[in-house]
Amino acid sequence: MIATNVRRLGLYLMLSFALVSGSLVWWQVVEAPALATRGDNPQVIAARRGLVRGSIFDASGQVLATSEVIDGLSRRTYTDTAFTHVIGYASHPFGTTGVERAFEDLLVGQTDPNPLRDLVNDVFDRQPEPRDVTLTIDKRLQDLAAAELGADTGAVVALDPTTGAILAMVSTPTFDATAISGDEAAARAPMEALRNDENEPLLPRASQGRYVPGSILKVFTAAAALDSGAITPETTFEDQPRQETEGFVVDGFTITEHDLGGIEPALWPLSEALQVSSNIFFAHVGLELGPDPFLSYARRFGFCAPLEIGPPERALNVSTSYVTANVDGDCSPFDGDVLLASASFGQGETVATPVQMALVAAAIAGDGVMPHPFVVRDVRAHADGDTPSETVLDSFASRGGTRVISSEAARATRSAMVDAVNGELGRVYAGQGDITLYGISNARSAGKTGTAQLGGEQAPHSWFIGFAPAEEGGEAEIAIAVLIESGGSGSDRAAPIAGRVMAEWLQLSGD
């Protein structure tokens, strides 16, 4: 009879009911407290709809974002589209991004910067007040960088190499986040347009855009090889002059030089090789360094793992940069010498974010110490008007940095980078990043252009990384990375922008 089988079936079904009950207990009891405070919880969203959000100011006290409550709905107004990708947006239907997200709880007053007061508020069930946030970015520099990028698609990232404070971080094209932050019905159409825009204005290119770095990565290759002792500033490669014209055969694959612009090949040491941006020389350097050290230095410099801007609990995320293929978010081991040689001059499978490349420049500028970047300087009491309150509740100082190479290696790299914009060959080849061209006479800059070949018909990405002032024994005040998507050669587009932004900063900061 089937009765026995029915009884067995009953057992299986009972087990299924128990399993489903277990999953209910999981969400409703075990996970419930953790879910309750998450930013995309509809309850949290609903509670915040009517809350005033704190304002956001630039480093000099200019207002960048304010909010007011109209008809019970909090609406955000952003004053400067140059800041859109840093500040992000706080949108009722579309959630929060950028600083708005990282500092959400403080801006809406959900938590208090002072843990003791936070506890008191919690005990008395008191609603803490909204707080204002001040960025490390100066609006004047940010606006200049945005104006310099103009209608081009690209990014500028500048930071103080000593402290890690972000001085400018611009991505273009940008958009006005005011339109998508207010009332749901009104926000939908503009958001739809932004999502469908083929230029991807929603993408924060400075931190999330990944680009083939090209020759600017030679700065990293040089720094790593110098630090490891694989080369000295005087090292030359016997076959290099011949290979400049004939090509360098690695594993049966011929690496050819780019157009040297009429410069006669010679036996170049580091400085000259960087000035003319010799791919052949850096292919030799990379092979000399070897695949494993190359990867381990890349990791030290921040490649192969996500970067963060700001303290981990309030960080803006930066996409991972890679020197080899991306395997589950990590760099794979080098697959042969051709890829190693190509990576050494920023081709092969290398991709990098502008933030990552600015940090490489900052590490050289900072005497071998790569700073931890941050973009929010302090949290203040909420100001009603457009002037920030004097009451600073919490401030975020520099969190120092990590030594990535020795001081000697950094100095040797710096010297080669100074030559790359000021040296005899460098000026001919790529000298437009030199800040002396932009009205600064008492300081020099260091840098490196990049013209990242993309293959096919696509125009190359135009890159520049550098820093200023770059005199021996002096302290650099700004390190920078500039990228123009398919902008052509590095010296034509990126280098002049970098030069002007660095010059402007030295003037603003009173040099």
Binding site: F17, A46, E184
Partner: protein, 445 residues
């Protein structure tokens, strides 16, 4: 015909009769902040319906199981309370010169369903019509599917509906029953042959293929069409019901094992072939990867479970709408259980699950007590179908398995679902009634 008092049923119905109107009143107070009864007539209508069904069963001397109606009544009552609590313009009907909101429409369908249930439970004195015409039923099933394929229109990417003037119906709901009838009849005839597997490879008993063939062909066709209609939930339900009936008919775990292997293989192929299947699996594995896009519904459902906690937010106090839209899209159909769990908490959710479990175990009891194999297998099939449907959608809501869009029987909004579920209850009651009569006759001898 002799009156049977059905005292157990009556006593179990009493709390429902009191609690459903109370639920309506509490909801209305919470929603309006005023001490008014609100649409209490719907609750009273529901109470009248259930009491009426009970009295008719009593009047006709029905000897069927007395726990089934209370379990169904409780589930339907919770469902009606929730549907009355949700925005009434989510669904409804405007036929016959009446404008009915969602809860009123659902009550109307409960009414139709109850009548159909009673007609089947009382009227079906002999199961010959079900048993002997199995290929007719199979043809009806294929016809229904073909009609859906040709005449159907799509809602949310799945083509499930046929428009019949004032109402739209989902033939898949009725197909469920037809398929169970066919399988019960076929398996009852051939189960000894199917069990008698002479071929073995290692420990695996190989099914005797010739006897399986007609069933497999029909079943394969149904599955293929269900997949073609992009109705994965129904396909999964059919398959689960099929395996369950096969297991009970043959008692062979190896058949179920083979079935499961086939299912995994099929699921893998579907995953490789169809973009929407891949998307669904990805969303299941990590809904928070795209919380505002593909993961919107599951993420919102998870938060609703969290808000509910152990004791719930209270009737009328959940976060059903947000910024002019529903917090969870399709909360009245696919996610009704989530709404219950949010407002009535883990306790309410367990209660609902418990009523479903009562229904399932009484259904299995009916199967075990059935007078013949056909009745037993039919009861197993109906019970498995109702139980699995409940488990699949709730497990989908809690992210235990990928979400598939099927209804929660007796709770979700939807006429076809309500009607089909009541038909199945009618069949269960009729089997149960005949067993009781049969047992009496035997005792009298």
């Amino acid at each position: 015909m002799r009156i049977t008092w059905r005292g157990v049923e009556f006593r179990l119905l009493l709390p429902i009769l009191l609690l459903v109107p109370l639920g309506f009143v509490i909801t209305n107070i919470a929603l309006t902040n005023a001490f008014e009864p609100g649409p209490l007539h719907l609750a009273l209508g529901y109470v009248a319906l259930i009491v009426g069904a009970h009295l008719i069963l009593v009047g006709f001397g029905h000897r069927g199981d007395q726990l089934i109606l209370p379990a169904v009544g409780a589930m339907g009552g919770i469902g009606l309370i929730m549907l009355n609590r949700l925005p009434q313009d989510l669904a409804g009907t405007a036929a016959f010169g009446f404008e009915l909101g969602m809860a009123a429409t659902q009550l109307l369908w409960f009414g139709v369903g109850t009548v159909v249930m009673l007609v089947i439970a009382i009227g079906l004195r002999d199961d010959g019509i079900l048993r002997h015409y199995k290929y007719t039923w199979a043809a009806v099933g294929i016809g229904l599917l073909a009609a859906t394929l040709i005449l159907g229109y799509e809602v949310n990417g799945a083509r499930l509906w046929i428009d019949l003037g004032p109402v739209s119906v989902q033939p898949g709901e009725v197909l469920k029953i037809v398929l169970v009838i066919f399988l019960a009849s076929y398996l009852a005839e051939t189960r000894t042959l199917l069990t008698d597997a002479r071929m073995r490879i290692g420990f695996l008993a190989i099914p005797p293929l010739p006897y399986f063939l007609p069933m497999l062909v029909l079943f394969g066709a149904v599955m293929l069409i269900a997949v073609a209609l992009n109705d994965l939930g129904t396909a999964l339900l059919f398959f689960g019901t099929f395996l369950t009936m096969l297991f009970v008919a043959t008692g062979r775990r190896s058949y179920v094992l083979i079935g499961l292997v086939l299912f995994v293989a099929g699921a893998f192929v579907a995953y490789q072939l169809f973009g929407h299947v891949q998307l669904r699996v990805e969303v299941w594995l990590d809904p928070f990867a795209d919380p505002l896009g593909a993961g919107f519904q599951p993420v919102r459902a998870i938060y609703a479970f969290g808000r509910g906690g152990i004791f719930g937010e209270g009737l009328g106090q959940g976060l059903v709408t947000l910024g002019g839209g529903l917090t969870i899209p399709y909360v009245h159909t696919d996610f009704i259980f989530t709404a219950v769990a949010e407002e009535l908490g883990l306790l309410g959710a367990f209660a609902l699950l418990g009523f479903s479990a009562v229904l399932v175990f009484r259904g299995l009891r009916i199967a075990a007590l059935a007078r013949d194999d056909f009745g037993g297998l039919l009861a197993v099939g109906l019970t498995a179908s109702l139980g699995l449907q409940t488990l699949i959608i709730i497990a989908g809501n809690t992210k235990l398995i990928p979400l598939t869009g099927i209804t929660l029987p007796f709770v979700s909004y939807g006429g076809s679902s309500v009607l089909a579920s009541f038909m199945m209850i009618g069949l269960l009651l009729s089997i149960s009634h005949r067993s009781a009569i049969g047992a009496d006759t035997e005792a009298a001898k």
